[in-house]
């Protein structure tokens, strides 16, 4: 277990910049999640930490050791793959023992450590099975036990849950998180699934097009997204295109005058609104922004309803409301009022984070 430092890490494939100047400082025992759409460079970053991709620039330190130029087998990292990557010709116990044998652990110490690792993932009774005789969830837990048995300095998880079905995914991710806490393991996980990321992470790194867009806690990303991309990728946002006028005023492309937090510079901008921060009623709501509109679309999602409300020919907002028995459930075409406080709308000027 150790601290992991990544300094200005870059990777170029020809003239394609897969990873650009990524710097991360991961504390001992911290669970960091790299989150981003496919092709954002998160997997390449993880593979550079594991040693399978040679960086074009930058440095990686694990504890006090600079591992930038070390081959994978000389870095003490435990890696868990999306495809499990168990050795199909070896039993579960032999799979877990593999890393210990490579480390020249004495024969008498291997068996108890294998048993301990399998017990941690609650598979102590399946040591003699072959991987193909196990379910997907069991296989992934064997892969985890195999990575944990070597007592890695850093645990690396590459989309570890993507091949599991939804129910199992929740179960295994809670299990991974509990083990990680219990063992105090410095962990980096890569995922494109934001729900997965939000449940397990101490801190999240949002990446896009090879760059880090924001590093922060769940609350940071939700309440203070750094740019339009983060606002759209983590949680949901509706975007209203328009112009910031300064002094807390914003005019949409459709000509609506809205109030927003004071302090944003004037110029072409976009306002991002979280659907859960927008209120809806049949009469004016008395909020900073209060607009009449027409319900265009209703999604029934069980606990909540999603409504798309048209405010003008070009402006629409999504409103999320609790689905209560006694509450009103507006139908398509209903005339309603929507409203939100000035600080609920976040303004991003067009030059910062135009990609979305």
């Amino acid at each position: 277990m150790a601290r992991l430092e990544i300094a200005s890490l870059s990777k170029l494939y020809g003239d394609f910049q897969a990873v650009r100047e990524v710097s991360l400082d991961i504390a001992d025992g911290e669970f960091l999640v790299l989150l981003g759409p496919s092709g954002c460079g998160k997997t390449t970053t993880l593979r550079m930490i594991a040693g399978f991709v040679t960086p074009s620039g930058g440095a990686i330190r694990i504890g006090d050791t600079d591992v930038t130029d070390l081959p994978p087998w000389k870095r003490n990292t435990g890696l868990v793959f999306q495809s499990y990557a168990l050795f199909p010709h070896l039993t579960v116990a032999q799979n877990v023992a593999f890393g210990l044998e490579m480390r020249k652990v004495g024969r008498d110490d291997i068996a108890p450590r294998v048993a301990e690792a399998l017990r941690m993932v609650r598979l102590g009774h399946l040591g003699e099975r072959l991987p193909r005789q196990l379910s997907g969830g069991q296989q992934q837990r064997v892969a985890l036990a195999r990575a944990l048995a070597i007592r890695p300095d850093v645990l690396l998880l590459d989309e570890p849950l993507s091949n599991l079905d939804a129910k199992l995914r929740e179960e295994v991710r809670v299990e991974i998180r509990e083990l990680q806490r219990q063992l105090g393991l410095t962990t980096v996980m890569v995922t494109h699934d934001q729900e997965e990321a939000l449940t397990v992470a101490d801190r999240l790194v949002v990446m896009s097009e090879g760059e880090v867009r924001q590093i922060g806690t769940q609350r940071d990303l939700d309440e203070r997204p750094a740019d339009r991309f983060v606002a759209g990728f983590v949680g949901r946002s509706t975007f209203l295109e328009g112009r910031a006028e300064g002094q807390g005023a914003f005019v949409t492309a459709g000509g609506l005058r809205l109030r927003c937090a004071v302090g944003s510079a004037a110029g072409p901008a976009v306002m991002a609104l979280r659907p859960e921060r927008v209120a809806l009623g049949t009469a004016p709501l008395g909020l900073d922004n209060d607009l009449p509109g027409t319900v265009e679309f209703v999604s029934y999602l069980g606990a909540v309803l999603d409504l798309r409300v048209r405010l003008s020919d070009t402006d629409r907002v999504t409103v999320q409301m609790a689905n209560r028995q006694d509450g009103m459930a507006p139908a398509v075409g209903a005339r309603v009022h929507v409203g939100w406080s000035a600080d609920a709308g976040r303004i991003f000027t067009q030059d910062a984070g135009a990609a979305a």
């Binding site: 040693g51 994978p72 087998w73 793959f81 050795f87 199909p88 010709h89 195999r146």
Partner: protein
């Protein structure tokens, strides 16, 4: 579990049998008529006697087999053939595995081109290829005249009609078969499994020994068996490059049938060759499987 099948289930089962029969039937009939029947006839011939004018006399005798194993000339040919076939198989494995590995892991769009290049030698017929080797290795060939011109040797080296040139010739024919067999098996091994071994602390040598080779074993076996059988039964290459002085089993069989007109003896040599090939292949198969079980 005893169950009574409904009429429709029975009909379905019968249809499946008919479909399977229609699919495997033609090939089975072809193999049976074209291979098993001649082999049976040949085996019967090998037990026949030979008359004073080399005519076949109906009999049940092991004389032909005894003659083969009691004459050092013939046992030498058998030993030589085995030696060449084993050498060719080992060299093909050593040369073929790295090549097959690189091809299997290649992500380039030109991968198919490289695979075509591996197969390319097979586009050239055996006779044409042998003519090429003759031009290269003959006493007035390229290699000898080059060595003589630079003064390394005074008289031409005897390269043609030796074990070395025949072995080289057979390796050149068999290597593509080995590479293609290995490549398809290695492609089926998840790259992540190799990376898992590396991340667990295995260096490339340990990874290959503990993970890659055991997983590639079916390919190593299939490729070796294919190469070994082809080498044991090689005909054109030993005839053209070995000449009358370096005789192997394949040409020996032909010689008895066509030149000596001794069918019973030729048939018995065929069976010795077939038996040697099958016994060695099966033994190697069993030994390797047992060694690497799990």
């Amino acid at each position: 579990m005893a169950t009574t099948l409904s009429a429709s289930e029975r009909r379905e089962a019968r249809d499946q049998v008919l479909t399977a029969g229609a699919l495997i039937g033609p090939a089975t009939i072809f193999v049976a008529a074209g291979l098993l029947v001649p082999i049976a006839i040949l085996f019967r011939y090998s037990l026949n006697d030979v008359g004073p004018y080399k005519q076949m006399i109906e009999a049940f005798t092991a004389a032909n087999y005894l003659r083969f194993f009691s004459d050092p000339y013939y046992t030498t040919v058998l030993a030589r053939t085995l030696r060449v076939a084993v050498t060719c198989t080992l060299v093909c494995l050593l040369l073929g595995f790295p090549l097959a590995y690189v091809l299997a892991r290649m992500q380039s769009q030109r991968k198919n081109l490289f695979i075509m290049l591996v197969v390319l030698p097979l586009f050239v017929g055996n006779a044409v290829r042998a003519a090429g080797w003759m031009a290269l290795f003959g006493s007035k060939g390229v290699v000898n005249s080059l060595l003589m011109r630079i003064g390394l040797i005074d008289a031409p080296l005897e390269i043609m009609y030796t074990e070395v040139v025949v072995t080289i010739g057979i390796i050149a024919v068999n290597l593509p078969f080995m590479v293609l067999t290995l490549q398809s098996v290695i492609e089926g091994i998840d790259r992540a499994v190799e990376e898992a071994a590396f991340s667990l602390g295995a260096n490339p040598y340990h990874m290959a020994r503990r993970v890659l080779l055991p997983l590639a074993l079916p390919g190593l076996l299939a490729g070796s068996i294919l190469t070994f059988i082809l080498a044991m039964n090689a005909y054109a290459t030993p005839v053209l490059l070995g000449g009358p002085r370096f005789v192997m089993m394949g040409p020996l069989v032909y010689n008895q049938f066509v030149q000596q007109n001794n069918w019973p003896f030729g048939a018995s040599i065929s069976f010795v060759l077939m038996a040697a090939t099958i016994v060695l292949t099966a033994t190697a198969n069993i030994l390797v499987q047992r060694r690497y079980r799990r």
